[in-house]
């Protein structure tokens, strides 16, 4: 323990420094408006806060709906131990998206307007409703943890009664929301570089969100096992890595087909920044895919973690490319975030990590619900042993 102490201090210092910068940047944002706090311009109205905070935030929260679907709808019970951390990540992720939006909107005080002033022809309208409804669903999915912590059995029963429709609703809303972030860019065919613009952007966004949802689950299991000194749910993560490899294959294959049908491969011959960013993004998805097909890699926690990190970065690269870099040439301008934009984004992420840690410490996140746990114990172990043997 003593050897860990200085490390923790370093992290705390970094955390405090990030927060201090973030607070000052917030002051700049409030006092001097978007013009003072960002490098956005009339020709480049969306930047880091949309491309990272919103588009990546929502995507990285996709573990929530993916695991809910796997555990409760497809009834693959073995994944239950990692369901709650995934729901917590998703809930925090969405809260942070809302915070990001408060910074990015010109009039954050009117965040509620789309709920009252409708325009069903707008993808942004769909996005606004999905954020609102799914954040509510995630809150309700997380509530049992709070009820359990404080021993509130009555409300726990109520929540259990509506849990099935709630989960189906959550999966549907996520499907819509993940894909709608891709649909947002269907409206800019003349601006978005053809390596990214595709009529099937919504489908590509949906599939890649499932991949990153799984990768994030592996990522956070690895981190929480280190932070809280728990044993890593390795057999579970190993079988999840198989699913991840398949999802990545499907995603890359559809991406390939799409590019070839649109005759976009020709573009790769050009020595442009877009070509290299595209290749980087594809490599960050293709390399972990190949690696994860090998049992040797899946069995090693370190390698498994590295693969998950690559997928997360590949996903971020994709969203940032669609949301900013892929639009630069078509918009006829350059954009690079101001330090204040970066500081606020980092602060939001840092607060997310800290909140996760705090909630995980004080609430029953890493246990299965009591009444299931009692008799599911040995059976679960058997299953885990099975999956080790299989892998």
């Amino acid at each position: 323990m003593t050897s860990k102490l200085p490390k923790i201090t370093v992290w705390r210092v970094i955390f405090a420094a990030i927060l201090a910068c973030g607070l000052y940047a917030t002051y700049v944002r409030v006092m001097y408006g978007l013009g003072g706090a960002t490098n956005l311009s009339d020709k480049f109205p969306w930047g880091l806060w949309i491309a990272f905070d919103v588009m990546c935030g929502v995507g990285l929260a996709a573990g929530g709906f993916t695991l809910v679907a796997m555990v409760h709808i497809f009834n693959i019970e073995k994944y239950k131990p990692i369901l709650r951390p995934a729901i917590l990540t998703a809930f925090l992720g969405y809260m942070l998206v809302v915070v990001g939006l408060l910074y990015d909107l010109g009039r954050p005080d009117r965040l509620w307007h789309p709920l009252v002033m409708w325009n069903p022809h707008s993808v942004m309208f769909e996005v606004a409703w999905c954020v609102t409804l799914y954040t509510t669903v995630l809150f309700l999915e997380f509530l049992p943890v709070v009820f359990e912590k404080f021993g509130l059995h009555k409300p726990l029963e109520w929540i259990h009664q509506i849990s099935v429709p709630l989960m189906i609703l959550g999966v549907l809303l996520s499907t819509l929301h993940q894909s709608s972030l891709g649909s947002l860019f269907l409206i800019v065919p003349e601006k978005l570089y053809p390596l990214w613009y595709s009529p099937i952007l919504p489908l590509l966004f949906f599939i890649s969100s499932i991949a990153v949802g799984l990768a994030m689950t592996i990522f956070e299991s690895w981190h929480s096992s280190r932070a809280f000194g728990r044993a890593l749910e390795l057999p579970l993560l190993m079988s999840m890595a198989r699913v991840l490899a398949v999802v990545l294959s499907v995603y890359l294959w559809i991406r390939l087909l799409d590019l070839s049908h649109r005759h976009a491969f020709e573009l790769l011959k050009q020595n442009r920044i877009e070509t290299w960013l595209f290749l980087l993004e594809i490599a960050l998805m293709a390399v972990p895919m190949v690696l994860l097909y090998q049992a040797r890699i899946r069995r090693q926690p370190g390698a498994l973690y590295a693969c998950a990190v690559m997928v997360v970065f590949g996903f971020i690269a994709n969203r940032v490319n669609v949301g900013t870099t892929g639009l630069e040439a078509g918009s006829g301008t350059h954009y690079f975030p101001k330090w204040t934009e970066v500081a606020i984004t980092l602060s939001i992420v840092a607060v997310g990590f800290a909140t996760y840690r705090m909630i995980a410490q004080y609430f029953p996140i890493f246990e299965v619900e009591e009444h299931h746990n009692a008799n599911a114990g040995p059976e679960k172990n058997e299953k885990e042993a099975d999956s080790v043997a299989v892998t």
Partner: protein, 256 residues
């Protein structure tokens, strides 16, 4: 009858009288420094730019099927039957999707305001509703910008390029672009040489997202049935397994 504006860049002398009239109509400041700015901005809703010895004027195209109005989540932008696309700043929450989506990159933002608004030309909706000309058309001393009924101006534009084929590039910009706009351009040279975007199709842009958005009811209803069905099947299987497990255990105990 919808209205339109015809801008004939071969007639334009670059005097910027339209800019001054526009600034006055919106109550915006106008001076030499602002006159020198070549691009649209939140304080300059029309701009005359120079391309060699030619001039080109930018303003909102007030599209027939406006992209901005289709993407606005709160319906702050509306297409009027008179032609102009109007903006209600009281609804706007500042998501700036209109700016991202506009194929002509027209909407601008009050970046340095604490309570910012989007700004764009609305083809003098108030003036035209009262039967007056747009401020720019009224101010133009040489008739390079004229204002009138959509059909008549489209016909006038076609008549000009047909009558003087050697003076005009043989196309009227704005009649078919993104399904048609309310601002027509005439030019002596191809339009990209006077700063206009020529990679736009004839399909109205709102179609690109509507194709997907109209699937939502189908996705939600089919998804509900599918997910509900899968849940019912997988849980039935678990129930059966549990029941059989119990029976098997019971049989084992009896056997003993």
């Amino acid at each position: 009858m919808p209205k339109a504006i015809l801008y004939d860049s071969t007639l334009c002398i670059g005097c910027k009288a339209c800019e001054a009239a526009c600034a006055e109509r919106w109550g915006l400041p106008y001076n030499e420094q602002i006159a020198a700015e070549p691009q649209l901005s939140a304080h300059k809703l029309t701009a005359v730019d120079t391309y060699g010895e030619r001039f080109s004027r930018r303003l909102c195209m007030n599209c027939i099927q406006p992209t901005c109005a289709s993407v606005c989540p709160v319906g702050a932008l509306q297409k009027t039957s008179l032609g102009p696309v109007t903006y209600d700043a009281d609804k706007c929450m500042g998501c700036r999707y209109c700016m991202q989506a506009c194929p002509f990159q027209v909407p601008t933002y009050e970046w340095n305001s604490r309570l910012p608004r989007m700004r764009k030309c609305n083809m003098c909706y108030e003036r035209q509703s009262a039967g007056k000309l747009t401020a720019c058309a009224e101010a133009c001393p040489v008739g390079a910008t004229i204002n009138g009924d959509w059909d008549e101006l489209a016909q006038e534009a076609r008549r000009r390029i047909a009558e003087k084929p050697d003076q005009y590039y043989q196309k009227v910009y704005g009649i078919t672009e993104v399904g048609g706009t309310s601002v027509f351009y005439l030019s002596a040279v191809p339009f990209e040489q006077i700063g206009l975007r020529t990679n736009l199709g004839q399909e109205p842009m709102p179609e690109t997202t509507w194709r997907v958005l109209e699937l939502i009811p189908d996705i939600v209803s089919t998804g509900t049935v599918l997910l509900g069905g899968i849940y019912w099947i997988t849980n039935r299987r678990a129930e059966v397994a549990r029941a059989e497990g119990a029976r098997a255990e019971g049989a084992k105990k009896e056997g003993r």
